[in-house]
């Protein structure tokens, strides 16, 4: 794991990988969303509103994957003191929060025609809103630690504790009666007809590649920040 601890080695891989991830992700997402908007069939009950699915489900997945990434990086940071782990956690926070918000907004727009309401306080919707607030808390905490000085272990502990919400989001529709439907996709099973399933898998892949590219770009930016600060400090000492 410490093979990538050297920032120079990390940058050598991340620098060419970032545009590859971003461009391929944008191409796949554009194709999948065009398919979803113009070619996917209308659903039996939902009609045309089913097309929101192609944004809503990838956004939900990445909102949850973003925090899982924060939790995993925080574990690595706390246990192995890996120098890049804190950067990886901080890099996932903003894109994760953006996708989480996108999930809530797109779901709300779908809920009005499908359920008859923009918002209900059921288990799934509430736990997803809690995740968005956890993201805000994490972003503010990590920024405060960076600004005021302090151990990067503080946001790491917050990131690990917040991970308890991820299984709650997933099981909220199974444990509790909720207005939100249970998952359509499981391991090797699908309650979705093929035209929806393949479009959804493609858009999920595309958004995930974009997410990975953004995380790498943010990690590089954070790394550049740290290096610039170190250089300034060195200059100040010399003069």
């Amino acid at each position: 794991m410490h093979a990538f601890a050297n920032p120079a080695r990390f940058l050598r891989i991340a620098r060419p990988l970032t545009p590859v991830l971003l461009l391929s992700g944008m191409a796949i997402t554009a194709a999948a969303l065009a398919y979803g908007l113009f070619y996917a069939p209308a659903e039996r009950l939902q009609g045309e509103t089913v097309r929101i699915l192609f944004i809503h489900v990838p956004a939900a997945w990445l909102g949850m994957a973003g925090w899982s990434g924060i939790a995993l990086a925080s574990l690595v940071e706390l246990v192995w003191r890996h120098p890049l782990a804190a950067l990886a956690a901080r890099g996932s926070a903003v894109p994760g929060a953006v996708f989480c918000a996108l999930c809530l907004a797109s779901g709300s727009l779908w809920g009005r025609p499908a359920w008859g309401t923009y918002w209900v306080w059921d288990g799934r919707l509430t736990s997803m809103l809690v995740l968005l607030f956890l993201y805000f808390g994490y972003i503010a905490l990590a920024a405060a630690v960076q600004r005021e000085g302090g151990s990067s272990r503080i946001p790491a502990i917050f990131g690990l504790v917040g991970a308890i919400n991820i299984p709650i989001i997933h099981y909220s529709v199974i444990w509790w009666n909720s207005l939100h439907q249970p998952p359509s996709l499981g391991w090797g099973t699908s309650a979705m007809a093929a035209p929806f399933l393949w479009g959804l898998l493609a858009s999920t892949l595309g958004f995930t590649l974009i997410f990975a590219g953004v995380v790498l770009a943010r990690m590089r930016a954070l790394l550049a920040d740290i290096q610039a600060e170190a250089r300034l400090r060195r200059k100040a000492l010399e003069s």
Binding site: L53, W115, V161, I164, Y171, N177, A191, A193
Partner: protein, 152 residues
């Protein structure tokens, strides 16, 4: 923690113990919330423990096929919500959401009357996890289910 432990192993054990404690606390909380966190009652719960008529509750279940009837005034409808074990008759006057259909899920907000009928102030349609294209709806239920099954 013996002296043979490296610091990182000690940290790993501590973090894992902390995580187990957090997960256990979360699972206990989720379990304790089982009744409070549910968004609605199902018919068998309502029939077993009828709530006070002045208490607002939500009732969720399937709209029983063939039970939906519109009264002579044109806006009042009567239907039966079913969970496979118990059934509750529901009365509702107003505009139902588009997805409200016989045989699909519904969540009714309202009051349970003393005579065993549920008077709803508001209806929410509940979509299930099945996604079926419109072209398939003309097939029989059996055919559609088979088509969906083939994509699994």
């Amino acid at each position: 923690m013996t002296a043979g432990f490296k610091p990182k192993h000690q940290r790993l054990v501590l973090v894992v113990l902390a995580l187990v404690a957090i997960l256990a606390a979360g699972a206990l909380a989720a379990w304790a919330l089982k009744n409070q966190a549910s968004y609605f009652y199902i018919p068998s719960q309502i029939v077993a423990n009828p709530p006070d008529p002045d208490r607002g509750v939500r009732l969720g279940g399937m709209v029983k096929a063939g039970s939906l009837k519109t009264a002579a005034d044109g806006i009042t409808m009567h239907f039966v919500v079913d969970d496979g074990k118990a059934q509750v008759p529901v009365t509702f006057a107003g505009i139902a959401p588009d997805l409200f259909k016989e045989g699909s899920g519904v969540v009714a907000e309202g009051h349970m009357m003393k005579d065993g009928t549920f008077v709803a102030d508001n209806l929410l349609a509940k979509h299930d996890e099945n996604y079926v294209p419109r072209e398939l709806q003309d097939m029989s239920k059996q055919q559609a289910r088979q088509t969906v099954a083939e994509t699994r």
